[in-house]
């Protein structure tokens, strides 16, 4: 088994938190893991990505070669476009459909979504609405984590447990919102995958 994931989004959207959670669960499941991330300058509101590789045998490269990713998991639709070349032909694209506009020349969102829909195996999630429904606008990344679960070699229950642990210090309200966001994301994804 191997699962190569490109996680992407905009600096500050919590991409590295998702990665850390996946790492933690994969570690407990006894998988081999490599996870390359971006620190420093790019985190300042720029495009951010992380290469996360899970396998049941040793992994060599920290980077995923182009055309080999099993999953592109993006918290921002235009950022998903940036990494489509990394995806393998039968890979899956799971992306937020809610644009994060912090640049003057952000393209027309309909055009972006149209391009994403051309990918055979895609799930687009209205993270902004679902995060609001979950009770906390900053849970968009958790919505996406939930949405990714049908494509991950990790048990969703374990991820949810780890999620609660990660937010332990923030109080019950934040834990609840994140758990709800996770469930909403997962449901949205399952209904698409059918």
């Amino acid at each position: 088994m191997k699962c190569d994931i490109i996680l992407c989004g905009v600096g500050g959207q919590g991409i590295l938190s998702i990665a850390a959670l996946l790492d933690m669960v994969a570690l407990k499941e006894g998988l081999h893991i490599k996870q390359a991330e971006v620190h420093g300058m790019a985190q300042r509101g720029g495009a951010v990505q992380s290469h996360l590789r899970l396998a049941d045998e040793p992994i060599h490269s920290d980077l995923i070669p182009r055309g080999k990713a099993d999953l592109i998991l993006s918290v921002e639709p235009m950022e998903a476009l940036r990494y489509l070349g990394h995806m393998k032909a039968d890979g899956a694209l799971v992306s937020s459909a809610s644009p994060f506009v912090n640049i003057p020349d952000y393209p027309k969102i309909e055009k972006v979504l149209q391009s994403l829909r051309r990918v055979g195996n895609h799930v687009l999630v209205d993270t902004r609405a679902l995060a609001r429904e979950a009770g906390h606008p900053r849970t968009e990344n958790t919505v996406m984590l939930g949405a990714a679960t049908p494509f991950l070699p990790l048990p969703p229950e374990r991820l949810k447990e780890e999620l609660a642990r990660a937010f332990e210090s923030k109080g019950q309200r934040v834990i609840d919102a994140n758990e709800k966001a996770f469930d909403l994301g997962r449901e949205a994804s399952l209904s698409r995958v059918g």
């Binding site: 893991i33 490599k34 490269s61 920290d62 950022e79 995806m87 640049i103 393209p107 149209q114």
Partner: protein, 544 residues
Amino acid sequence: MIKKPETAAEMLLGDEAIALGAIHAGISGAFAYPGTPSTEIFEFVERQKHPDIAARWSTNEKVAFEEALGMSYAGKRALVSMKHVGLNVAADAFVNSGITGVTGGLVLAVADDPGMHSSQNEQDSRYYAHFAMIPCIEPSDQQQAYDLVRQAFDISERLALPVMIRIVTRLAHSRAVVRTSAPRPQNPLKPSESRSWILLPSIARDGYRRLVEKQKEVKAALAEVQCCRRHGVEKGPLGIICTGIAWNYLKECFGEGEEMPPTLHVFGYPVCENELEELLASVDEVLLLEDGYPFLEDKLRGYPTRGRMKVHGRFDGTVPRTGELTPDIVLGALNRTGHETPPPSGPLAPRPPALCSGCPHADAFEAMKVALKPFGGGRVFADIGCYTLGALPPYEAIHSCVDMGASISMAIGAARAGLSPAVAVIGDSTFVHSGMTGLMDAILEDTPVTLVILDNSTVGMTGGQKTAASGPNLEKLVKGLGVPEEHVRIVNPISRERDTITRVLNEEFEHQGVSVVIAARICIQEIKRVNKAKKAKKAEEEAK
């Protein structure tokens, strides 16, 4: 002994693996100045709050290296870490430390940034090691990073030489599981008795001779660690030499059970000549794969292959001459195709990093632009930090960024050439790192320059480390150096103060001597960090 129970297997960044390896190897101190991608090495040690390991940020890399050298003199082990360009700053101490030698083990961990993800160049630190005749070890994964640090300390103490550990961004900032071994105790305090530390010419000549003679032992020590490893089949038309993490990319290209050409994985320098000759003897041509400059490739082109063998790599374009090595580049160099799918096209715009919304630097730049309008926009010599992003739209407020501290010194040179106003912009951390010395020149001459210090109370660019001088301390420092009181002006970079700042700047531009304008307002991200820490502390107290 180690306070925090480190489990036997941990998920660590390459940086953290180095730090933990050093802690378990029995260091008594960690020394560093922040810089991407090396910052997390020191931060990991700092986080452990080990009562017997000194860990304080240094004001710059030279200071960090010298502090480490002092600890080594006293007999104890020291880890010093920095980014590649930091070694330029520390180079004087580094090169001479090969001649003095060391007492307690001294390991320099330096993180290069091929591809310039967060840097102003992609220089390769292996050249420094070669130049200083100091052994260099280049781990290829997180486990090796952990293991080899311990071995580096052993070599350092056995040969009485510093040892360099060179890593690159991809290893520094990639996580994997690392299995750890038992920690060992620190060295006792035992200051050196040797006069080799006094680099008077007469002593230095002996020291240098000793260093040259030691090279045999260096090679033997590296051979013991087996820093050149043979892989693949015995013989073939094309041989491969890969260094450091290039090995991972190479392995990625070959499936399970697939035959690999004769390959040499090099991760220690100077390279083991026997292994190298053996490989070269069994192939007709050779391909070099290195993440960084074509360091080994350059050596091979002259020796021992000249005229006898084709050397492929960065020089003949098999691998791009510049930039980071990737698995895709390695696939291409081997004439193997990836599993590339033509990417579905779509409308894409670049998303460069930018100043955070509400950043104090933004307000300072707005005011400066207004103040400089009468001078046709003027020229602003800037420095390195978050504020370098002031080069991008919508600000486009700065005209240079060369190396840490260059702002003030360049402004002095330009002022002497007749440029007026000569304006420099520097952050608080960069000022203490290496801006102060330049300012001293301006003070001695009373050069007509206006230095704007952006005091945001933190080292913003690298994630919010403690800054050396901020607020009243910074003001005292500037006045103490000798800038006249009436030309040290404090302003608050916030939009409602824009007119005041503009007026202050214009007054100081008029002044035909040195002035310093300190724009002081705390970084937005630092506020968040402070609040978070407060909350966590409160929660902890409530739990008690």
